[in-house]
Symmetry: D2
Subunit: 342 residues, 4 copies
Amino acid sequence: MVRLGIIGTGRIGRVHMAGIAQGSQNAVVKTAADPFLDEKTAQWAKSIGVERTTTDYREILEDPEIDGVLICSSTDTHSRISLEAIKAGKHVFCEKPIDHDVQKIKEVIQALEGTKIKYQVGFNRRFDHNFEALHRAVVEKKIGRPEVIKITSRDPEPPGIDYVKVSGGMFLDMTIHDFDMVRYLAGCDATEIYVQSANLVDPQIKEAGDVDTAVIVLQMENGAIAVIDNSRRAVYGYDQRAEVFGSLGMAAVSNDSDSSLVISNSEGVTGEKPQFFFLERYMEAYKKEIKAFTDAIEKDTETPLGVYDGLKPVLMGLAAKRSLKEHRPVKVEEIMKEEGID
Amino acid sequence: MVRLGIIGTGRIGRVHMAGIAQGSQNAVVKTAADPFLDEKTAQWAKSIGVERTTTDYREILEDPEIDGVLICSSTDTHSRISLEAIKAGKHVFCEKPIDHDVQKIKEVIQALEGTKIKYQVGFNRRFDHNFEALHRAVVEKKIGRPEVIKITSRDPEPPGIDYVKVSGGMFLDMTIHDFDMVRYLAGCDATEIYVQSANLVDPQIKEAGDVDTAVIVLQMENGAIAVIDNSRRAVYGYDQRAEVFGSLGMAAVSNDSDSSLVISNSEGVTGEKPQFFFLERYMEAYKKEIKAFTDAIEKDTETPLGVYDGLKPVLMGLAAKRSLKEHRPVKVEEIMKEEGID
Amino acid sequence: MVRLGIIGTGRIGRVHMAGIAQGSQNAVVKTAADPFLDEKTAQWAKSIGVERTTTDYREILEDPEIDGVLICSSTDTHSRISLEAIKAGKHVFCEKPIDHDVQKIKEVIQALEGTKIKYQVGFNRRFDHNFEALHRAVVEKKIGRPEVIKITSRDPEPPGIDYVKVSGGMFLDMTIHDFDMVRYLAGCDATEIYVQSANLVDPQIKEAGDVDTAVIVLQMENGAIAVIDNSRRAVYGYDQRAEVFGSLGMAAVSNDSDSSLVISNSEGVTGEKPQFFFLERYMEAYKKEIKAFTDAIEKDTETPLGVYDGLKPVLMGLAAKRSLKEHRPVKVEEIMKEEGID
Amino acid sequence: MVRLGIIGTGRIGRVHMAGIAQGSQNAVVKTAADPFLDEKTAQWAKSIGVERTTTDYREILEDPEIDGVLICSSTDTHSRISLEAIKAGKHVFCEKPIDHDVQKIKEVIQALEGTKIKYQVGFNRRFDHNFEALHRAVVEKKIGRPEVIKITSRDPEPPGIDYVKVSGGMFLDMTIHDFDMVRYLAGCDATEIYVQSANLVDPQIKEAGDVDTAVIVLQMENGAIAVIDNSRRAVYGYDQRAEVFGSLGMAAVSNDSDSSLVISNSEGVTGEKPQFFFLERYMEAYKKEIKAFTDAIEKDTETPLGVYDGLKPVLMGLAAKRSLKEHRPVKVEEIMKEEGID
């Protein structure tokens, strides 16, 4: 039995707590910590089997009974708490992104060197049943050599403007998932990124210095071309599709709906919308990523998404930001050199 | 917190145990009983949080801490244990069918009279997300007045011949779920049943006196005509679809697959098969039916599927058996009169 | 070049005229005849290349230049004009049904004996791209041995009540197409028919002694069970689907729409309705059946749908009518014996 | 009745001849001309009703009975024959592209000035039932303001290498259709184009100085971003899809297949491939574009695709070629200025 501590009891922290409570056979949450922990959350946590709650996450790091921590706090604390947890000898599951600052990710990489600590980054979509099936089709060469990879990723509604301001921009906040997905599906890294973006959804986002609509083209190491299209607002729900076209065919996955109900009437033939947002679409994926983390601890194997998998999408996000700013294709290597990554 | 005992730790008993362990917020399994309980099952039960295991189900009935029982034993014991559990003052969730013998169901009905005991029958499909959505569309008059109801229900492979022999025949074993579904979708009872059946799957089934393929036509009280088609073997998986056609349109639900993956290649455009069988397709439905049962206990409300919902499909199954034997449409009333039901 | 005469310039006569004008490489319409031919139709016929128009169909029968006739007049004249055309040595394409009276069909059969005259019946659906593909899948054993055949056939709106009165009843007027389709898909005849029917669409239809909704179960010679469901009114359009389930899988075809457009919005994901009615859905099939007829003439081969293919669905319709009247399964042989068919 | 001459009896010339013979109510082909006209083609033309055939297209231009010409000769002759036809007072339907050289298109524009000659360019896809439905959905504001437009356009197999060498490159030969489609769907012009391309299909194409795979990003005047993905080889057939995402939803169209047949077996659930290539997919569109041309002549209205609609995609193709060469986003205005277009 793997004993976990959860740091941060906001939405994603509670998702993991509930997921472990309901679905996990080999893990329990011993302690949940949050500086702003309220009574309601504390009671709820206990009702689903969490042993302790605290406002001080250091209790978790200092608890010898705890094997691993889930860092679900705000992004700006991810790298710092990662370092502390590594120092305390805890295995680490860190929500994405590790940091927006590459230098801080490098510190985490250095801290991990020579340790036996498992480190996993929270790119949950790799654990979605559809994307897993698509990845498997590619790996099993069902479509030959990948040539064009297409990802559609649209949120149902934009985040609050306060969040947008601290989000690091759409590319580091939202597209970062798609950058990870491109790497997962292509089986290699991107070498160059070009961004065409727009402000079409909410003028406040523009005022905050961010964009809300984008098409991003990526040159992949294996010769394939990838393209991501993003929007912060799809009125029909969370649109999460992908397609890999290759020398022997095409593999594609579409959205999940709450049911397969189709109504035919005088207006047309109408099926359900895609599930509303990530909590609906990816609930099972959240459980599975934690299961992968605790399995890696239990069986002493590699986590499926290590610290470098956390670094790469950040480098891609920085290249995308520069492409947006300078309106030209930007090589990822350009960012890497500046950041001293090789 | 509702405390449950599970009687019978075969496949379906374990399904419910695991479901409650993983998903339920308001129930725990205190005790699991099975006369043939083996060590492996006992250990597994404990590992998922079941407090006690025993070979004697009477321990459950006598335990004052236990609120309700799940009767998951073999069909021939359902009505007897129901009676004992009612006598012991336990709420009862009984796997389908209550009994093949209408008189024994009548005894259960009589035993329940005047008590406050909740009784629920395990027609799990009503809790499937697709059938729930279809039912809701009908109830909300999305398609007007129902006129033709079509149910396709095919198993991926026939049960073992030993099971066939004690199953009560396909209509009481397999079609009984579809009889319940017809009632659920039509919102009323069937008045007459006609069966056209065949032995096309396995000659052993014929030797055992049963059929393996059938089309069943039902006249419904509300004027709609229903038709069920059954097969004991669909090589592409568990085929569970339904369609309700009405004065304002048609509502239909199809199968679930493990993913939405579609591969286009020189052979065609290929999606995944339906999920293999009932454990895959209805796992969530099993959790939801138990949740409905424990909610009814906790909130002192009616269960969604009472003892009469257990009786009616048996009457329909008996009418179907007579139609098969006498090759004519049989009124359900004919069976009811003979059984003294009004 | 095959030279044709068209007898009857009502809707279906004009469909064939237009089809031949637009699509046929090996046929021309020399003459079109109709006792009630109006000026407008005559001009239109000429504008699309018909050489002559007349109110007397005997001109066609007497014209030595004309190879074959298309009998598109009212049903009650089909058998009589067939006999005259055969006597005149013309090849005959006869719209369905040849007659409602089996004895009159027998006269046509007898008249054909010993002649080299090609006779084809207008069951156009066999030439629909979807049903052709389904039939091919069955013939090529893609699904093994057929076990359950399902046909859904619903009109978008009922015919006028005056038409209903002379139609011979839904089974001989509408279901007769489905009876042909069952034979086409099963590759054999039906031996027994059971009807469950209702009046749910229009009380006038009931007053006219007919039904508007039905489920029809058929036992096929090859052991398969077939089921047809009919309605005279599907508000979402002409619903023409079929499914053949067999030992190695299932083959199914669905409706055609005017386009593949799908709109996703806050209401759902909506595609187009099926095409409105038979003229939209089967226009290409009408062209192809005439092409098959003229090819048979030109190459001196068998027509794909001979006079017996015209007889059999009428026998099935009569069995269905008796099943409706006597509320019991009726063997087709029972009708055949009474009619002196063996 | 509009009398037409067809110049060029290669594949597309014969497609139009056959289309007019079969489907057109208001046009006939009087003369077909081709310098390399062979006996077989001449006979075939006559068999479908073409009055004359000749090796000298000037016979068509000089024939006072002919109202309009269809220029279906090789691309390098389009602009020259257009000029001659305009001078001869004939209405002109010109296959795409008018020319690869913008100056030559300008000459055609100048020649048309002040005349009443109808000029139509052969962007047939606008007449496809799916793209028409998509365009209508956008125009009718079903999805609000367009924000992201996506076009997938993949050929089933690359053209012969000799053709590639004279094709003007993939952007002017193949993508030019997609450039037109983007304009059609967006309802405005592109202002900037960025190309990411690759040679993944056939090394000979690279040797010929062309690419075979590309993702092309376009900034549209109305603020929308468009993206086209092209491949010269999709093993599953001709892949022609489009999607318009907007403020109120998404509209999408997919491929057509020969039938709706779906086979479910132990391998999966398999539907038909998209139709093989443009002759299958766009046959009806070819008929409809000629109908639009002859209607414009007959009713003296504007053609739906004038000479400027022929110019714009060429400008876009030239911008794409420059983007490929210089690896940067290229403003269409840059090309326009150089070419003296305003």
